[in-house]
Structures are given as C-alpha cells and as structure tokens.
C-alpha cells in the first residue's frame, strides 16, 4: 500500500477531552475507571466503567456527540474547517444509538406505549450508520462513506479501509475513526459473560481478572501525501499498512495460540513492505482477560522473535477501559502520539507481569526511539485487525 499521511488527531474519552489532556493522563498512568453513573447497574456483577464526560452538542445520540467532538478536534489540527468536497468518512461503529433506544425500549415495555413520537426518534438513531451520516451532514464529505461493525476491531478496520481508499485513488482525504458510548446492553452483556474485572483492568498482569468497558471517540484525518504537501499540512505520521484476519475458532474466545492475531499483524507488515524487525513498539489489544492477553502475547512474541525483550508492548486499556468499537481509534491516536513524542506510555494497572507472558511491558512512560508502531485489535468472532504507523520523513 502506498503510505498515507496522518494530518490530524482528535480524541474524547474518560481520561481526556482532547489530545493534549489524553496524552498527559496516559503518560501519568491515570485510569478513567469509575463506578457507573450513566445508568442503574446495581444488579451487575461489576458496576464500573471508564465513563467519558458529557461531550456537548445538539444531537440526540451520545455516540454522535462524542464523534463530533473528536472529529472537530482532528479537523482543527489538520487545519481544516470542514472536510473537502470529495473526502470520505470511514467510521468504526459501535453501538450507535443503542444507549438511547434501549432506554426508550425499556420505557415502552413499562407502559406498553411503543409508538410515542419521542420514542420513535430514539429508535431512528439506533442504527450505527447514523453517526457517519451526522458527521457528513455537519462536516461535509461527498466521497465514500462506510460504517464498519467488526465489534472491537471496528475502528482499526475503518482506519485501514480509509487508507486503502486513498492509496487506491478513490479519494485524497478521509476522516477515519470511531465513536462508542456506554450502553446497558454491552456493560450487562460482558457482565453476563463474567469477563468484567471487579475493580480496574490489569492487562498482562498475573492477577488480571477481566476487562472494563469504556466509551469515547477518536478520529484521524488521513490524506494523500501529495495533497498534504501541496497544502503545507504538517504530516504527523504515515499510515503504512493494515491487515485483517479471522480466527474461525470460537464466537467469543480467541484462538489460544494467537495464530489469527499473528496473521493480521504479518499482513499489516506485508501490506507496508515492512518486516517484524522494523517494529519499534506494539500497541496491544490487551483487554485484561486471561484468555485474550495470553493468546495475544503468544502472537506478539511469535512476531517479534528474538527482539521480544527489546520491543515495548503496551495496552492502554488499563487507562481508558475497553472502548469497544472505538478502541482501535483511541489506540491509533496514542500510537501516532508515541511516534510524535518518541515516548511509549505505561501499561496502567499492571503491577506484576504474568510469568507466562514473555513481553517487554513498561509500567512507566518510556522515552524510546519509535519509528514504526504496530497497533492491534482483536474482536468477537475472531475478527482481528492491525495497522502500521510510521514516522513521517
């Protein structure tokens, strides 16, 4: 794939309402996990989440408001008021308007009046594709539009898809990223699966006991290098490649040896014309569940081989929680920031490394030469995605 320029970043999540506060909180090891306040969760096993503050804005759905907040920051950093006329929008979709539609549904179940007009509005925004439509309406963009629903790898896939559109000449600018808001269904569902930690997520820790659901939004402005250079935009990093794979193993559990994840990472490197020896830092999916972290660690170690002790690997989910559909986008922003600042953030929540995991897992922010970052996300259905970012020349 021809490299694509990253010219803007925006993020809004539990540890920061913009890129600057997000990055400083991440380096400081701050965690956004709090007792749930957004909805009643008394009967859930673990009523905690990484809640984002109220994003503001006039749209009825929280996912749309989160998306607009982060997207506007990304555009501003790229020096754009609106997206160019033929720009595309590649959205990693999460629950869409489910937080609003599930409340309306609950109210309808209680009083038996489904068709009240206000409730109909809530259901209209239920579809995850609505967020991309709201972004296009507010910010422009008359090019390709897509809403990827690959569960937890949605936004990694969307970023790769946006890069492909540019590399293949379909358009020369794409707003790529994701938004996902907390909903009772997702928090309750992960509780039902008994994969939620009782207090904080501890990715790769010996005593890790699960993930914690988070929420947020993050976007990247992607442009062809020609377009970015022609308008004098600052190129923050390059999107160099992406890879997707399927485990074909289990509906929820990862393939234990991490072969599917390894395939996605290798495909991302192959797509970029790079090799594992070029990777300076791996942003891991690292949910904090026993099964995920072990399988993923095996995959990363198999990829890095002899360099495993030298290459830092970080999961930022101890800080931001698992932002589900938005996880890959939030982590992509963190990955680009690592390249820009030449600093690797810590594995927040990690106290004692699992002895079965042979990775280099920093627990404090680490100054490090970061030329290429591989960012990995794994999802239900064994849908794996990886993107490779490189330093701008």
């Amino acid at each position: 794939m021809r490299p694509v320029a990253v010219t803007g970043l925006g993020v809004f999540c539990s540890i920061g309402g913009n890129v600057e506060s997000f990055w400083s909180s991440l380096l400081a090891g701050k965690s956004g996990v709090v007792p749930l306040t957004r909805f009643p969760a008394g009967d859930m096993r673990s009523p905690i989440a990484a809640e984002a503050p109220e994003p503001g804005g006039g749209w009825p759905n929280r996912s749309d408001r989160l998306a607009l907040r982060a997207a506007r920051e990304a555009l501003a950093q790229a020096g754009l008021d609106r997206l160019p006329g033929q720009a595309g929008i590649a959205l990693g979709a999460g629950v869409g308007g489910l937080p609003e539609s599930e409340r309306a549904f609950g109210a309808a179940l209680a009083d038996g009046k489904l068709g009240r007009r206000g409730r109909l509005r809530s259901f209209l925004g239920h579809l995850p594709a609505t967020t991309a439509d709201v972004l296009a309406f507010e910010l422009g963009a008359g090019g390709p539009r897509s809403s990827v629903t690959n569960a937890c790898s949605s936004s990694t896939v969307a970023i790769g898809q946006g890069g492909l559109w540019i590399a293949e000449g379909e358009t020369d600018c794409v707003l790529a990223g994701a938004s996902d808001a907390l909903s009772q269904l997702t928090v309750g569902g992960f509780n039902a699966l008994r994969v939620v930690a009782p207090d904080v997520p501890r990715p790769f820790d010996r005593d890790r006991s699960g993930m914690v659901v988070g929420e947020g939004a993050a976007f990247l402005v992607l442009e062809s290098i020609d377009r970015a250079e022609a308008r004098g935009a600052r190129i923050l990093a390059l999107l160099e490649g992406f890879g997707l794979s399927v485990d074909a193993y289990h509906a929820t559990a990862p393939e234990p040896d991490g072969k599917g994840a390894l395939r996605a990472m290798r495909l991302a490197l192959e797509c970029a014309g790079s090799s594992a020896s070029d990777v300076d830092y791996v942003n891991a999916h690292g949910t904090g569940t026993v099964a995920n972290d072990l399988a993923e660690a095996k995959a990363i170690a198999a990829l890095l081989g002899d360099r495993t002790p030298d290459v830092p690997v970080v999961s930022i989910k101890g800080a931001v929680g698992h932002c589900l559909g938005a996880a890959g986008a939030v982590e992509a922003v963190a990955s680009v920031l690592s390249i820009l600042h030449q600093v690797v953030p810590p594995n927040t929540g990690l106290a004692e490394k699992d002895p079965q995991i042979a990775l280099n897992l920093p627990t404090k922010a680490l100054r490090h030469s970061v030329r290429k970052v591989l960012s990995v996300n794994l999802a239900f259905g064994g849908n794996n995605g990886a993107v490779l970012f490189g330093r701008a020349l």
């Binding site: 259901f123 008359g142 699966l193 008994r194 399927v246």
Partner: protein, 338 residues
C-alpha cells in the same frame, strides 16, 4: 482496476433457498416479507454448533454455503467476507434487553450476547464453513448488500485477498418493524429479510464458472440530513457518469438497471432518470419480492448476474442511495463481453 468476477451465488429469503432467474409477480402487497419457516438450514452442521445461532447468522452461512458449492474447498482458507447489514442484529438485542428489563441484567443469557454484535454472521461463516480470509462487516441501511459488493471490489482490486463472499443479511425484527412502519412512506415497497451472497474473484482473465464481470464501482455521497433521502438527481447522475467512464460504456449499451425505489418519490425519480439517461435499459424490480432489507440489493446483484450469465442482457448498472446521502453503484457485464 482489475475486473472482479462473480463466480457463485446464494440466498435465503422470502422466496426460499436460492433465487429464480425471473421473479414471480408479487401477490398483493404485504407490508413485510419473511423467510418461510421449515427451510433445511441446519443440516450438515454439528447440532451443538448451531444450537444458539441467530437467524441472521444461519441465513448468511447458508447463502455462503450455496455460493461456495462446487468450488475447491482449499480456496476457503483465503476467501474473505464483506457482509452488509441494513439494521443489524436487532432480534438478539431485543431479546437481551427484554430479559434485562423484566428480570434484571444478571439474567441476561450469555449465549445470546455474542449474536448482538454485527459481525456474528461473518464469524459463524468462518467457523462453520472454514472461510478463513479477512472479514469486514458494514452497516448501511437498505443498500447494505450493494455497499458490501463495492467495498469487496475495492479490496479485491487492491490485492488484499483473491476471492470474497460479499452480500447482505438482515432479520426483520417484529418490534423494529412496529416502530419503523409508521415512518415508512405510504406505497413504499414491503420490508423483507434474508441473506444474499455472491462469490467474487479478482483476475485479469475470466475464471472458470464466471457468471458476470464487475467492470466498475463507485460510492460518492451527497450529505443531507440524517434519516432523509438526498436529492437523488445529482447523486445518481454522478454515480452513472463515474461508472460509465470507468467501464468505458456508452449509456445506450446498458440493458438492465436497478435504481432507488425505497419511496414512491424515489421510484418516480428512477423512472424519469431511466427514460432520460438509460434509454435502452429495463428496470430490475426486486424489492417487491425480496422486501427492502440489508440483503435486497445483493439480491438485485444476483438477479443481474443471472440475467447476464443467461445472455438476456450484456450490461447492467445498479445504483443505491441511503438516507443520509450515501450512494453505492456497480456496473456488471456478461462474462464474455468487453
């Protein structure tokens, strides 16, 4: 861009398993077209593996099984999936929420939760059919099946994978239907449900079993208020001009066309558009039989491919428009035609 070839077809829908070459005249105008009960969909799979399967996954797996029939099983290792969802996995979501509100969140069934994510059908096709290439699931309302085909063509053209199952799937959740029904235009086509899959392959020369060639694709958009259709004139004009330019076809060479018809206003526009811009084309009517859902535009692509393979037309264009202003279009030719 390398041409993409259609080499396999499969569907589960209101007309049962598979699609006929010509649709029967729709009987009356039911507001909702459902998949018939009692279709042999679970045969050949381990009972334990399909015990909790939701309908969307079951239908998608069966549509893919038909499309893959007769092809080398070894190819499945590298076959990808691009799945389009219209409204997504609402029945499992409804089941979970209904339980949670009635009995508390602790009572939610963990076996149902994995099917509340949109990519469950692709994951199940990977598991049950051993289709191990990359999988991408998209939501795009009613045009979702065509969205998936367009995105699959892009990935195939870029060399991301050699073959791909592309299409759409949706289950018409009765609750969702009750909610949406008052908002639908009077005289709109019926809503539907089902799954339609096309096996696509990218190569310079036609592969064996080629049914049709996808000569060009595009997906411009015309931003407008969410939940409203855009002015279709400029968007369909752009799509047609791009398709014909990329395929190198004159407008009067197009023999069949599928155009937006989700509302009476769109259907009237499409009639006018065809008369002025595609004077020799016959309009493909598909939503009357399949019902409007995430699968129906992939059903239109199946019908077009069969028409082209049987020599009843040489060139087809399909152009879909969604509320919010996104559009998707493909140009398909008979396998032997330029």
């Amino acid at each position: 861009m390398n041409p993409t070839w259609v080499t396999g077809l499969g569907s589960v829908g209101p007309l049962g398993l598979g699609l006929p070459s010509e649709f029967p005249a729709a009987d009356g105008r039911p507001s909702l077209r459902r998949v018939p009960q009692g279709l042999p969909l679970k045969g050949g799979f381990p009972p334990q593996a399909v015990r909790w399967l939701d309908n969307s996954s079951l239908w998608w797996v069966n549509a893919c099984r038909q499309a893959l029939a007769g092809h080398d099983p070894a190819e499945r290792e590298r076959t990808a999936q691009v799945v389009g969802l219209g409204w997504g996995s609402t029945p499992p979501v409804e089941t979970l929420i209904r339980t949670a509100y009635a009995e508390g969140f602790a009572s939610m069934n963990p076996a149902v939760f994995p099917y509340s994510v949109g990519n469950a059908p692709a994951g199940q096709a990977g598991l049950l059919l051993k289709v191990k290439g990359p999988a991408l699931t998209l939501t795009a309302k009613e045009p979702a099946g065509l969205t998936a085909i367009v995105e699959a063509c892009r990935f195939l053209s870029a060399g991301a994978f050699p073959s791909c199952l592309a299409g759409g799937v949706d289950e018409a959740d009765p609750l969702l239907w009750r909610i949406v029904r008052p908002l639908r235009a009077r005289r709109a086509p019926p809503a539907g449900e089902g799954a339609c899959a096309l096996l696509l392959r990218s190569s310079e020369a036609p592969p064996g079993r080629a049914l049709a060639r996808i000569a060009a694709w595009c997906s411009p958009s015309e931003p407008c208020a969410p939940h409203r259709f855009p002015n279709p004139e400029p968007l369909c004009g752009r799509m047609l001009e791009t398709l014909l330019a990329r395929a190198g076809w004159p407008p009067d060479s197009v023999g069949i066309a599928a155009l937006p018809g989700e509302t009476p206003r769109l259907a009237e526009f499409s009639e006018r558009f065809m008369a002025s811009r595609l004077p020799r084309a016959r309009r493909l009517i598909f939503e009357e039989n399949l019902g409007a859902c995430g699968a129906s535009w992939a059903g239109a692509a199946i019908l077009a491919a069969r028409t082209l393979a049987e020599g009843r037309a040489e060139r087809a264009v399909l152009m879909a428009v969604a509320t919010g202003g996104a559009g998707w279009a493909v140009a398909m030719g008979a396998p032997g035609a330029q």
